[in-house]
């Protein structure tokens, strides 16, 4: 792999990890926000 390939891999991995963590947090928020409604409170 060329140096350029390693740079693309590093930046791509950074965006992927940060993006996946953000998605995980917001999925959890959505799930938690739904729970009290189902319990009728």
């Amino acid at each position: 792999m060329s140096n350029y390939g390693f740079v693309v891999l590093a930046f791509g991995l950074t965006y992927l990890v940060l993006g996946l963590y953000a998605v995980r947090l917001f999925k959890r928020r959505r799930m938690l926000a739904r729970l009290p409604k189902e319990q009728g409170s």
Partner: protein
């Protein structure tokens, strides 16, 4: 139970700041004399590492506050939020360092003091998160994880100083005097962007942890009330 209203605009601001800082650093810094374009990995690897260090210092501070100043649940939850974000940042730092190491050192991984101490830091905080996941009692979970959090925080200066204390192939810390301003500017800007990401993630995770705690308490109260009815 919702997230604070400031978090949404702050999240968009953080995203735009991050993209702008990344573009600025990548587009304006010339290829390094020795490393060429590989130097650009510095704009994600170093800010991720600094953010991880900051996260674990926050964990240490709030864990100590929890243990010795009032046992406030909020302190425990802030420490937890920072630990989770710090663990993600440490894993990212190691992965990015590995991607940098392969073309620079010729290996993906080596048992170098900096790399090894960083891996130990990651293991401590992975253990911290596992401990929290497997402990049901609120008070015990907070107390035990605060102790592990302080232990992990004590490892941060060891990781930081490892390149000076031991013989290592990892380079020593760069300073404005050892680095051209074309690189230093981009690094500082990206550190600011990672700092904003850190604040955003910790704030969201903290509020989610509060929601989870409220639901836990409510479930316990309901279970107790049902038990009382049956008795």
């Amino acid at each position: 139970m919702t997230l604070p209203r400031w978090l949404r605009p702050f999240g968009w601001f953080t995203l735009l700041l991050f993209l702008a800082c990344q573009a600025f650093a990548v587009l304006t810094s010339p290829p390094d004399r020795d490393m060429g374009d590989l130097q650009k990995i510095m704009y994600v690897h170093v800010p991720a590492a600094w953010t991880a260090f900051l996260a674990f210092l926050v964990v240490g501070f709030y864990s100590a506050r929890y243990l010795w100043w009032g046992r406030k649940p909020a302190d425990d939850l802030i420490a937890f939020a920072a630990a989770e974000v710090g663990t993600v940042m440490t894993a990212l730092t190691i992965a990015l360092g590995s991607i940098w190491g392969r073309p620079t050192w010729g290996v993906w991984w080596t048992w170098d003091p900096r790399l090894t101490t960083t891996a130990i830091l990651l293991l401590i905080f992975a253990g911290y998160l596992a401990l929290r996941a497997f402990t049901d009692d609120d008070e015990r979970r907070a107390r035990w994880s605060a102790a592990v959090g302080i232990l992990g925080c004590l490892n941060v200066p060891i990781v930081y100083m490892s390149v000076k204390w031991w013989r290592t192939i990892h380079q020593v810390q760069s300073t404005p005097s050892s680095m051209d301003s074309a690189y230093w500017r981009g690094l500082l800007l990206n550190w600011a962007a990672f700092l904003a990401i850190f604040i955003f993630f910790v704030a969201v995770r903290y509020h989610l942890a509060r929601m989870e705690r409220t639901l836990e308490i409510r479930a316990e109260e309901e279970a107790l009330a049902q038990g009382a009815v049956h008795v």
